[in-house]
């Protein structure tokens, strides 16, 4: 135990003597949490719309003004031919084309029926898809208005009509920041845990100081614990800072309470620190450690459920996410922040994370050798 005290003293001295690292550790969450949630948005806005209006009627004008007043669309071109509009898409000046045929108004009034033509630019698939879906619902709305104006609907419609009204549970306003901010915080903790630990130990390998330690009777468990503890504490400080920013800037208060988050984060950090440690036992240089952890981070982020829903991934990818610690923390964060889940609700995730921590750390300790 006395040895551990001396080793911990050494680690803390070294960390606090490197102001650059400290600054990065604290600036990273502050800047990322303040800036990123405003930009990383799921909603599609500023969809550039090119309208081919061959009708030039009052109804076509009404439709266009209804579309532009929705706030999602920018009318970037108003052409007379489909060809001219297509050129706009080719020049990337438009995401969607709406063609209003020449007899639009006439048909609508006389035959109670009219056709519109929609074409989307699928280079940015999400934008094209969601754009045309938005547009379709606006047109449907328009359709209803027109019908109300022209046809006196019978009290009981001969056709069955189902009207759907929905309410969003747990996040009533569908405020994406409520799941984006905690998600980014999870990624930050992962970075601090895995990256910094890996680089810290490999740095000792590179400059040769680890050899001087290996030639002493120090127990490797002591050496490793001394490496983990400072970063574990730093991770919890980053979490606190992040939760503070979430509260101050986004008004996010975890419905399930802070204790649940801290308990899970404490175990989670042990797991990612173990991962960093494991990386360091395989990497010989800081560059190798960086590359390995970068490789893993990419997988963690893209298969973590923050940007894309895990449920809609192919089955094999869903299997990979089960080995991704990030996916568990993001799930827990959402449960706690939005749904108000408590410790008993996240038992399963907590248990899994505990297994992660034990396996990764044991693997690292076994793989760390004082003798080559």
């Amino acid at each position: 135990m006395r040895t551990l005290k001396f080793l911990l003293q050494k680690e803390f001295r070294q960390i606090f003597r490197d102001p650059a690292i400290l600054r990065i550790i604290f600036m990273m969450p502050v800047i990322q949490l303040i800036i990123l949630p405003w930009a990383a948005d799921y909603e599609i806005k500023n969809i550039k719309l090119a309208v081919t209006d061959k009708d030039h009627s009052s109804y076509s004008q009404k439709l266009i003004s209804k579309i532009t007043s929705s706030g999602y669309f920018q009318l970037t071109a108003y052409e007379n031919s489909y060809h001219a509009s297509l050129e706009k898409i080719e020049d990337d000046e438009a995401d969607l084309i709406l063609e209003i045929p020449a007899s639009f108004e006439k048909q609508l009034v006389k035959e109670d029926e009219a056709t519109l033509y929609l074409a989307g630019n699928a280079i940015n698939g999400v934008k094209g898809n969601l754009g045309s879906a938005y547009l379709r619902s606006i047109i449907q709305d328009f359709n209803r208005e027109v019908r109300l104006e022209w046809i006196q609907l019978p009290k009981f419609s001969p056709q069955t009509q189902i009207e759907v009204t929905s309410s969003n549970w747990f996040n009533a306003l569908m405020n994406y920041k409520y799941f984006m901010v905690p998600g980014i915080l999870v990624l930050l903790l992962t970075m601090v845990g895995a990256n910094l630990t890996a680089i810290n130990i490999v740095k000792e390998k590179e400059i040769g100081t680890i050899e001087q330690i290996n030639v002493t009777p120090v127990q490797k468990v002591h050496f490793i614990i001394a490496k983990l503890v400072p970063f574990w504490i730093l991770g919890l400080i980053v979490l606190t800072l992040g939760l503070l920013i979430s509260r101050l800037f986004y008004g996010i208060l975890p419905a399930g309470g802070f204790l649940t988050i801290y308990v899970f984060a404490a175990v989670y950090l042990l797991a990612v620190l173990g991962l960093g440690l494991l990386i360091s036992t395989y990497a010989a240089t800081q560059q190798q450690a960086m590359l390995i952890s970068f490789f893993l981070m990419m997988i963690f982020v893209l298969l973590g459920g923050l940007y894309t829903s895990i449920d809609s991934m192919p089955v094999w990818a869903q299997w990979i996410t089960r080995f991704n610690p990030v996916s568990y923390f993001i799930e827990v964060m959402r449960m706690v922040v939005l749904k108000g889940s408590g410790l008993s609700d996240i038992k399963q995730q907590l248990g899994t994370m505990f297994i992660f921590a034990v396996v990764l750390n044991s693997w690292a300790v076994i793989n760390y050798r004082k003798r080559s």
Binding site: R2, R13, E211, T216
Partner: protein, 248 residues
Amino acid sequence: MLNEKIITVDHLTKRFAAFTAVDAITFDVYKGEIFGFLGANGAGKTTAMRMLCGLSMPTSGKATVAGFDVYTQNEQIKKNIGYMSQKFSLYEDLTVKENMQLYGGIYGKSNQFIKDKTAFILEQLHLKDEANKLVGSLPLGWKQKLAFSVAIFHEPEIVFLDEPTGGVDPVTRREFWMMIYEAAANGITIFVTTHYMDEAEYCNRVSIMVDGKVEALDTPAMLKQQYQSPTMDDVFLKLARKATRSGD
């Protein structure tokens, strides 16, 4: 003094795949002597030394250090030895005092011991004013002397020095050897590698490694007689020229 064996090495071998770095070396080191371990670059000195320190696993052969077996009792060996690697490996971002405190603590020394010993070394090295400076800011010669002092801080039975005076000026080199003599006078066995043949003359006995084998082992005087050479330099050249391995 020259009866009790403190290191015994018997056909100790280390192979890396097809390459035999250390090829069945056999020798003994006696308690209290200054043992010079010479050889050209790439002859296998560092590998042999690392095996004796418990840093590298031997492929075959036998060896004991301070009475402990290198295969099974490597952690006991570590309690009884000091080691100074070729590459300066104290913590440059810790101060002189903090480095001594750390290594004193790791070897399980009491706070009082650490305090007294630190004061003694700072006095001896004239480093009192630098005690709270970061080690990285010291000039190389001072660093080497400090590294040696830290290697024997816990008063080990044996200290292994791997080219301790590489790149150091002649004055500092002389001072360094004064420190080695002093440590030897205090009963610490010195196992030292060097490329400077004048330093070889300071040793009680010298072995010369060529291509992973110990080719010669005796006192400097006997070696000069045996190889009919006026200097150790000449002895070394005669032996090292036979080498077929290129240096590192």
